[in-house]
Amino acid sequence: MLLRHTTAEVTERTALTINPAKTCQPIGAMYAALGVHGCLPHSHGSQGCCSYHRSTLTRHYKEPVMAATSSFTEGSSVFGGQANLLQAFETIFTVYNPDIVAVHTTCLSETIGDDISQIISKAKADGKIPEGKHAIHANTPSYVGSHITGFANMAKSLVTNFAEGTGEDKKQINLLPGWVEPPDMRELKCLAHRMGVDVIMFPDTSDVLDAPQTGKHELYPKGGATVAQIRSAGDSIGTIGLGHSASTRAASALEEKCEVANEMLELPIGLQATDRLIEAMRVMAGVKVPDIITDERGRLLDMIADMHQYIHGKRVALWGDPDQLVSLCDFLVCLDMKPVYILTGTPSTRFEKRVRAVLGDSVPDVKIRKGSGADMFLMHQWIKQESVDLLIGNTYGKYIARDENIPFVRHGFPILDRVGHAYFPTVGYRGGMYLLEKILNAFMDRQDREALEEKFELTM
């Protein structure tokens, strides 16, 4: 057994996390900053932080993830990291020539108390930030929140640094995608395009973390929201923020700074969450929904109807990030499946309430945990007490899946051992079909593998 020390009996832990269902803020800030065109993320801390974040994102995307670090030493930890950051700006703009350096802090620089705004001001005054170039920052202490918090903080920083209300009314809406994958962002833009809605999307990692093989490495790939686009977000009709934990801060900042009203939605994973997005775009932009989208919806619905026998009533355990989990539960309920164990390491005040609202009375004995103490060790213990039919979560679930012989659909972050997430969306109706196909295959492959010979089916 791979997890041979995990037993069904749960003893309350107050201090020890075992097999976490979250990671720290800075990696989220790095991911968000990669969704800005010409931007080099910069980690203000020890080298290891930057190295670990780049490695984890790289393993997840199989793509270059470029970022710089302040390379703190013991001296900088005693005297503060100002000298390191000033030197970093000079080196970065001289050698790597980005349009923007997006600094995020770490537990180290936050504990020291480095004032990044002041350091950036000094860098500007000292001429270390060339004319027309930008240095921005987000405070992302690793000991607060999770990777999702870091993403939300950097997304907010893009607003506070760049968005401007000029008084002009631009016929466009802001679509804040939340922490989703590059193909999800591509799919969201495609949906808007088909509806004839001009959207400003940021962060946007499509064409950054799914760059084509061209024989040339672009340090700053062609994708990413431009500064001009983010600036113009202050003149948009409104903002649709997707995923409350990842996008609320940026959406609220836009409203506060530029008086752009916002509507917060769950991530459009599954049929009904996508319906709500399409409706919101239709109303906000004053457009009609084209048949091509309605037909796509119909195809997803058709697929559910056709294959319902394989999925209904199945018990599912899910772990990951709050925004994904709420929408996944919504989708599973719509499939008449039963999300019985739902867990996120990310602290979130609305998570449990939203999950319960989505589940209604469909899963009376549901177990939900969030934040401190919500880890995959506990999830595994729940499973040992009463097993499930399907696991949905990041790659670390494979150890449980193998020990307990449970079908497993990878979704979330990080996925280190499969490739589809980097290429195929799980948002929108097409994303729903892809996700449903993966769920069906997981059950059907198991049936094919384990069925008695006389029960082995040709047609399914």
Binding site: T11, P20, S46, P64, K216
Partner: protein, 540 residues
């Protein structure tokens, strides 16, 4: 390869701000072997400049990730915010094989105190104590190791005092590592810290005696991709008794018993030479630098061990094993040479692999055009003979140097002075390491702590057939149309050690340098002469 390495070096550093350019120029040298065996001096184990885009990680990565992580039954608890423990969770693919299903194996578990603002402000010792107790209640380990992350050092939690207290309370071994990420200049600091604490808290605690004639420890082999399994098998076939490996496929008891061995073999000199020296001083165990990467190197290493023990039977057994293995290697070598001969490789990785893997490429008939370490020191480049001349700077001074004296009862010199003198043959590398540079062709570039900028320029200029580095570099290199082999994780393949591993590696490199995909980068229409723009067609 029509490039003058000196010109390339000048070109590479030209872009840097002046001070940085000067520093980088001292970390880039062109090899030249003097008649006295001397090589040019390189600057190494110095700070990476902020903003440079370095390959390097931190002391915590070197301590927890590299040295202690591979051990399966020391329960590791990372004291800090969640990230540090999360990122080191199974990502180094250290394989381990417990003797039975009921033996402990903690490799798949990731433990953290998940520090929050509360502990940063008020201190984390209380939470750490509680976490150790909770971990004990779940896992009942023989030993618990606690690792400090950056903020722990700053807020002043005394992890060592907590460890002592919990050791007493639980009646098991509990020890801590002050391996905060800001210590030193790279992972290397963490290796040293790990060596020190293992030496102080584990080595010598288990007095199990062995009847075997040829007892050894293998130092600096971390069983990535199953390398240690291959080497263990070779030892078994030669009749060599392995007491402990530091730390691939290892367990706590064997490490605690390692002082009973008669020879230490040093595989990764960078990460573990401290341990070899300390064990020699305290217990009288001599050490040999060996290398099991490369078929010829493996054969040579086995012969060196036999020479050390100077036993006819052992020598005969070693020759039998080599004779059994080499024909298969020869067949594979001949086969891959027909497709790989003359191709070029660059290696920028680690603290020993950029040296060891050159052997494998040479065995395939390939040429090394540039190499360097991520966190090596001057002795890893130039050989241990430069050790007395290395200046200890502020960053290294912060790492504890343990003063070691011979153990009053357990110091046993394994060799007479006369025998030691006999073994002083440079070929044998007895208590010595000649380093990377003396074994490289004149005129080759050696670059310490290569930056991303230098990596790109090197590839543009030399267009090597293959580049070897780590996960962060891999896909940037491959976007340039050059295959990149990861030599930390082996791209989830391996083993590459020993004879069997050499064959695996030849085949892997043959596959990579001859992949069709690199010739398909241009679409048919991208190679046509410019055409007039066609009229747009309405699309989705």
């Amino acid at each position: 390869m029509a490039h003058d390495a000196h010109e390339v070096k000048k070109e590479m550093v030209a872009i840097y701000p002046k001070k940085l350019g000067k520093k980088r120029a001292e970390q880039i040298v062109v090899t030249e072997l003097g008649p006295d065996g001397s090589v040019p001096e390189i600057k190494a184990n110095v700070r990476s400049s902020p903003g440079i885009i370095t390959q390097r990680g931190c002391a915590y990565a070197g301590c927890k990730g590299v040295v202690i992580g591979p051990s399966r039954d020391i329960l590791s608890i990372v004291h800090g915010p969640i990230g540090c423990s999360f990122y080191a969770w199974l990502t180094r693919r250290n394989q381990t094989r417990p003797p039975s299903d009921s033996d402990p194996n903690f490799i798949t578990y990731c433990l953290s105190t998940d520090m929050t603002e509360q502990e940063i402000v008020f201190g984390g010792e209380k939470k750490l104590k509680a976490a150790i107790k909770e971990a004990y209640d779940v896992f009942h380990p023989k030993a618990i190791a606690v690792f400090s992350t950056c903020p722990v050092g700053l807020i002043g939690d005394d992890v060592h005092a907590v460890a002592r207290q919990m050791k007493e309370e639980l009646g098991i071994n509990v020890f801590a590592f002050s391996c905060e990420g800001y210590r030193g200049v790279s992972q290397s600091a963490g290796h040293h810290i790990a060596n020190n604490q293992l030496f102080k808290h584990v080595i010598g605690l288990n007095e199990l005696a062995h009847e075997d004639k040829f007892t050894i420890n293998l130092l600096g082999e971390y069983n990535i991709g199953g390398d240690a399994f291959v080497i263990e098998d070779l030892f078994r076939r030669c009749g060599i008794k392995l007491i402990a490996t530091f730390s691939g496929n290892s367990d706590y008891d064997s490490m605690a018993n390692s002082h009973t061995a008669d020879l230490n073999l040093v595989m990764c000199h960078r990460s573990i030479n401290y341990m070899a020296e300390m064990m020699e001083k305290k217990f009288g165990i001599p050490w040999l630098k060996i290398n099991f990467i490369g078929a010829a190197a493996t054969a040579k290493s086995l012969r060196k061990i036999a020479e050390y023990f100077d036993d006819a039977e052992l020598k005969a057994k070693v020759e039998t094993v080599i004779a059994e293995e080499m024909p298969k290697v020869d067949v594979a070598q001949k086969d891959v040479k027909s497709r790989c001969q003359g191709k070029t490789a660059m290696l920028f990785v680690g603290g020993s692999r950029a040296h060891h893997y050159q052997v494998l490429f040479k065995e395939m008939g390939m040429e090394i055009v540039a190499a360097g370490y991520e966190f090596g020191h001057r002795d890893d480049y130039e050989g241990r003979k430069v050790l007395p001349t290395i200046k200890v700077d502020a960053d290294s001074k912060n790492i504890e140097e343990i003063e070691v004296r011979p153990d009053e009862t357990r110091y046993v010199p394994r060799l007479s002075q006369e025998r030691k003198a006999q073994l002083a043959d440079p070929e044998l590398e007895f208590q010595d390491y000649v380093g990377m540079m003396p074994e490289m062709e004149d005129g080759t570039l050696v670059i310490d702590d290569i930056s991303h900028h230098e990596t790109e320029r090197l590839i543009e200029l030399y267009k090597p057939s293959i580049f070897c580095a780590g996960i962060k570099e891999k896909y940037a290199v491959q976007k340039m149309g050059i295959p990149c082999k990861q030599l930390h994780s082996y791209d989830y393949g391996g083993p590459y050690a020993g004879f069997e591993g050499a064959i695996n590696f030849y085949r892997e490199i043959d596959r990579m340098v001859n992949m069709k995909v690199w010739s398909l980068v241009k679409a048919p229409w991208q190679t046509l002469a410019p055409q007039p723009e066609p009229a747009p067609v309405a699309a989705d």
